[in-house]
């Protein structure tokens, strides 16, 4: 079995994002970038399945500018066998990402495709479901547990009501929740070894898919700021304020 894992380079989750003054986007210069957090869970799960003997190969793919390769190198350092970087410039919407990934799936012929359930930059939560649609594969989204069976997956999904369990046929798409596993750290020797692992570069323009944006970003602005509140000295004062000032209890 072969598992393809899609990873995205985003602003690190610990960074306080700032909006550019000209309203064209957010500040990315000299800002720490990392792998999208649930994509780390996706890689970890694929590597664990490989370690259990149920998969033979894990391929990590990323889409973006040259620096996006960092995320593939990181995936290679924690156990992926091969990397693919699809080079693009500018905004690539989830629909375009899923069209690119469809081409990569046709080429690599994986049995499973894993990725994070949502990217923490655009917060779209679309790519996995779109790829599943284009391939006519089943989708197991928001996965917090994956069991690989002979010809199917049993996946526990985190939904608003609680948990849902479904069984999907293989091939299958899984989008991963942060609670799926605890991603490992790359050791220094493994980071060095990862530099020798194969990383294939592909130009998106050579794939023959239309990736032009369909959504025009008119402006990006700061959300309205909350008025600064006060500190209360005691529980008694807090309850009085809630009762008589805010009038919410």
């Amino acid at each position: 079995m072969k598992i393809l894992v899609a990873v995205k380079r985003v602003i690190d989750y610990n960074v306080q994002v700032r909006v550019k003054e000209d309203g064209t986007g957010v500040v990315t210069d000299n800002v720490k970038m990392s792998t999208n957090p649930p994509d780390d869970n996706a890689i970890e799960e694929a590597v664990k399945i490989k370690e259990s003997g149920k998969a033979k190969e894990v391929v990590a793919v990323t889409i973006g500018e040259d620096k996006a390769q960092e995320t593939v190198r990181k995936a290679l350092a924690v156990g992926a066998d091969k990397g693919i970087h699809v080079k693009t410039d500018g905004i690539v919407e989830p629909l375009a990402v899923s069209k690119i990934l469809q081409k990569i799936v046709e080429k690599e012929k994986p049995d499973l495709v894993f990725m994070g359930k949502q990217a923490i930059d655009d917060d779209c939560n679309q790519t996995g479901q779109m790829l599943a649609a284009l391939l006519n594969w089943p989708q197991a989204t928001f996965a917090s547990k994956i069991e690989v069976k002979e010809k199917s997956l049993e996946v526990t999904r985190e939904v608003d009501e609680g948990l849902e369990t479904i069984e999907t046929t293989i091939p299958s798409i899984v989008t991963c929740d942060l609670r799926l596993n605890e991603p490992r750290y790359a050791s220094l020797p493994n980071i060095m070894k990862a530099k020798k692992k194969p990383l294939e570069q592909i130009n998106a323009s050579d794939l023959g898919v239309d990736i032009k944006p369909r959504i025009e970003q008119i402006k990006v602005e700061e959300p309205p700021k909350r008025k600064a509140g006060i500190k209360v000295a005691s529980v008694e004062e807090l309850v009085q304020k809630l009762k008589n000032e805010a009038k919410v209890i």
């Binding site: 994002v17 679309q126 996995g128 779109m130 608003d160 609680g162 970003q217 509140g229 006060i230 807090l238």
Partner: protein, 317 residues
Amino acid sequence: MSALLIAEHNNKEVKPFTLNAITAASQIDQDLHVLVIGHSCEAVAKSISEIPNVKKVIHIDDAIYENYLPENFTPVVIKNSENYSYIVCSANTFGKNLMPRIAALLDTSQVSDIIKVISADTFLRPIYAGNAFATVKSTDVKKCITIRPTSFDPAPTTGGTAEIVKVEKAEASDLTKFIKREEVKSDRPELGTARVVISGGRGMGSGDNFKLITAIADKLNAAIGASRAAVDAGYITNDHQVGQTGKVVVPDLYIAVGISGAIQHLAGMKESKIIVAINKDGEAPIFSVADYGLEADLFEALPQFLEELNKLNTIQK
């Protein structure tokens, strides 16, 4: 042209967020039709037909739709989408799971999680966990849109008399099999729509200690929330998580207890009307969004809070 909204329900009742999505959808296009796809869900179709904003209900009923699998829902939505300029759904786990599958097959770039309708093709949506708002214009002919339900008021539920049209099912998919759903049953108000929410974080220290929160929730008729850290630690189940990857809540009163206030948590609650933070670390970021901050040990403060509430003659429900 018209808008087609996909209703979320449990085959017996309409889920409350469908009403918020109906408000948003009718702001986009007043000629709003609603798709009710399910199994033995006549009651749902009927109650939606009574919503004044709804002009027509399309009801598709078959056993294959009992568990809302997107592999089965997608073909039937596509089959019925031809005459519509907009396909709309709420941006909760139901809509997030379903809509992109539809959008991809319609070759449409979906606009997710909108919080405001600016014009027929332009919408406001939060990005970067709500740290920025983007105004976006969709250039697709057919637009697929998901709505952040807490940003729109629920539609009124009586007074309408829309016609209900029964339509044939589409082909069934054998890609996915539903196995089970573990719903956490509770008599409390739903987290997403509660007037008061009290949430616990890592500072609670254990699942058992959440009883301090439960006692206050009982008193205030509040829903119980949690930070991701508290869910990860196993103190409480995932359906309580508030934040970027959990639920978004906008109650009149949000009480954060033992929650430091990571960006990802703030994303799910900072639009609340009044925010209270109880934390022993005076530097915790949660205080920067709190209307009332109490720097105190929660294990002392929560029992006192309950005591003070008990002294009040009346409490709003």
